[in-house]
């Protein structure tokens, strides 16, 4: 939970992603401090999800460097980054449909199990203790997110709001140092978004949170720092107030209608 010798947990420098002739990201920089909430906003097609996919190792950038805790990650493959402490949620939730909620969350905790390949294959050695600890951790996470009563249900049988909490629990149960949230407010009602804001701020105390979000009220409320993308470029960065006051942002994003300025 603490980083030594470097101020930034994650830095991305000069990230460029091209899909054929289309430049989705153009020389994007992003710095994430340990702890705190960073918002990534921009109009549709600005490249927010692409940047997310680069940060989580799903997509390899055409050029640019990423450093994790002061050094380039030893391996850019997704599961290596996850084991190093980067977790994310998905816009479409991507829960495991045929596994119980408890198992869904236990998968998220898997990186904390300490048994080696032999215990994994034979069920001997640490396996029994690992399993008990994973189960307890998963249950504790479900309780923390208020969905412990659904532990033995299948995700598909639950209301969308509950599924979102399960997805959050799965992402947080492994004690990540960086949590990437892809549109956490999508599909939620006004009241639920209020609860979510409190939750995200709470999470930001334990770990660094980066969120992509369309819901402007939520972003302005929870973020310490905001990065605005448009057409694959960073057009503004700063605190919510600074970004709100930036005429460039108003032009690109908020300025089209008056009530969007709120």
């Amino acid at each position: 939970m603490t980083t030594t010798a470097t101020e930034h947990l994650l830095t991305a420098e000069g990230i460029t992603v091209r899909f054929g002739g289309l430049t989705a990201l153009d020389d994007v920089d992003l710095r994430v401090r340990p702890g705190g909430v960073t918002g990534l906003i921009g109009p549709n097609g600005a490249g927010k999800t692409t940047l997310f996919n680069v940060l989580s190792g799903v997509l390899r950038p055409t050029s640019g460097t990423i450093t994790w805790k002061g050094a380039p990650p030893s391996n850019r493959r997704t599961h290596h980054l996850a084991r190093a402490g980067i977790a994310r949620t998905f816009q479409g939730l991507n829960l495991f449909p045929l596994m119980t909620v408890l198992d869904n969350v236990a998968v998220g905790a898997d990186r904390l199990a300490r048994g080696g390949p032999l215990s994994l294959l034979t069920g001997l050695g640490r396996h029994h203790r690992d399993e008990r600890e994973l189960r307890e951790r998963a249950m504790a996470a479900l309780e923390r997110f208020g969905v412990a009563d659904t532990a033995y249900r299948l995700p598909g049988t639950l209301p969308y709001g509950v599924q979102k909490q399960v997805a959050l629990a799965r992402a947080c149960v492994g004690d990540p140092e960086l949590l990437l949230l892809d549109e956490p407010a999508g599909g939620l009602s006004g009241g639920q978004i209020g609860d979510l804001a409190a939750q995200i701020r709470e999470l930001g105390r334990d770990m660094a949170v980066v969120l992509v979000e369309h819901h402007m009220d939520l972003v302005m409320e929870v973020c310490d720092h905001i990065v605005v993308l448009n057409f694959g470029r960073v057009i503004s960065t700063g605190t919510p107030d600074e970004v709100r006051a930036d005429p460039e942002v108003t032009r690109a994003y908020l300025g089209t209608t008056d009530d969007g300025n709120e």
């Binding site: 997704t78 599961h79 996850a82 994310r88 998905f90 495991f96 048994g115 033995y152």
Partner: protein
């Protein structure tokens, strides 16, 4: 012994009344999973032995056939139901195991059976690693296609290396019956059935331990959503290969046991039809549970016999008589998929749930 059984055990405390301090069920669940599954395996062996003593010599070979078929299908279960990879070449790994066994018995007769079985598993594992690593990046139909090639191509090797593998006549070996001190008690086939089932329950205990443990959960996560699994830190490629290798080892061991019982390995046994039958039977028995493998093995061994008997009763022409059982098997499979996609085990589970809710 099955994933669903453990899930039911876990679900119980929630649906039932608040659990008391330490129920027998909780104490059972507190045991390490390999120990739990070995105890269940011992219990299963006792049941099988009892059945064997009751039914006698005539059915012993069919019992043995159910045993090794079940082991093979349980391996396929872990691969298809557990990790979501469809293999059409499972019979090829049975063939690798079978021919390894036949060659070992034929050329190194001094080796004891246990050493032969261990070597069979080693050879099948190596074959599984080679094929699994080569196909690790293939998804869905592409993996099925690649393994299909294996199922079609491998039997041909016996003709290519006629001297060594015996061509279409295959290899014939003699395997020993009961040891001298048991000879009055057990016939040769009964002894073989017991040896097969002892090996099978140990193999099943290993498969069940893997399937209900951390590795099994990793596999199911990959089956359900590869991206989310990777984002949870699960090495997707490696886990898929491991699933493939475990399934291959189980298939190989089953093939080795088959040769031990039948005393012969011929290419005509290990055709593509065998691989397809194993997969179809797995669907029929119930995908996603180890019990499904038992129903599937019973279906493979007995259904064809029963269907043949039933067809013969109608005294039809020879051509119809030979092909009708296969047609009926196919019709049954379609009906099950249409009305009961979770197979025979799904039907049992639903009945069990209805009985339990009726009692409350």
């Amino acid at each position: 012994m099955s994933t669903s059984a453990t899930e039911r055990e876990q679900r119980a405390p929630v649906s039932g009344p608040a659990s008391t301090a330490r129920s027998p069920r909780e104490r059972w669940r507190a045991l390490p999973s390999p120990l739990r599954h070995l105890l269940l395996a011992a219990l299963a062996l006792v049941v099988v032995t009892g059945l064997l003593l009751v039914t006698g010599d005539l059915t012993a070979l069919r019992f043995a056939a159910v045993g090794y078929t079940m082991l093979s299908i349980a391996g396929l279960q872990l691969l298809v139901g557990g990790s979501g990879q469809v293999s059409l070449g499972h019979g090829a790994f049975m063939m690798i195991g079978a021919y390894t066994m036949a060659l070992l018995v034929g050329n190194l007769p001094m080796l004891p059976l246990s050493a032969n079985l261990v070597l069979v598993v080693v050879v099948a594992t190596v074959a599984g690693v080679l094929v699994g690593a080569a196909t690790a990046r293939l998804h869905g139909p592409y993996l099925a296609g690649a393994t299909l090639i294996l199922a079609v191509g491998l039997p041909g090797l016996t003709h290519r290396y006629h001297e060594f593998l015996g061509g279409s006549n295959g290899l014939t070996v003699r395997t020993a019956g009961a040891p001298p001190f048991l000879q009055g008690l057990l016939s040769a086939s009964e002894w073989k059935a017991l040896v097969v089932w002892t090996t099978v329950v140990i193999g099943l205990a290993v498969l069940a331990t893997v399937s209900t443990g951390r590795l099994g959960r990793r596999m199911r996560a990959i089956r359900d959503d590869e991206t989310a699994a990777a984002m949870s830190g699960i090495p997707v490629g490696a886990t898929k290969v491991v699933a493939f290798v475990i399934a291959s080892a189980a298939g190989g061991l089953a093939g080795g046991l088959q040769v031990y019982v039948l005393g012969t390995a011929t290419p005509s046994i290990f055709t593509l039809a065998l691989s397809l039958t194993l997969l179809a039977a797995l669907v029929l028995g119930g995908i996603g549970s180890m019990w499904g493998a038992l129903w599937a093995a019973l279906a493979v061994v007995y259904l064809e016999i029963w269907l043949s008997d039933a067809v013969r009763a109608f005294s039809l022409s020879r051509d119809v008589e030979n092909n009708l059982p296969i047609v009926l098997f196919g019709v049954l499979l379609i009906l099950v998929l249409r009305f009961q996609p979770l197979g025979f085990h799904g039907i049992l589970q639903r009945l069990g749930a209805r009985l339990r809710s009726g009692r409350h």
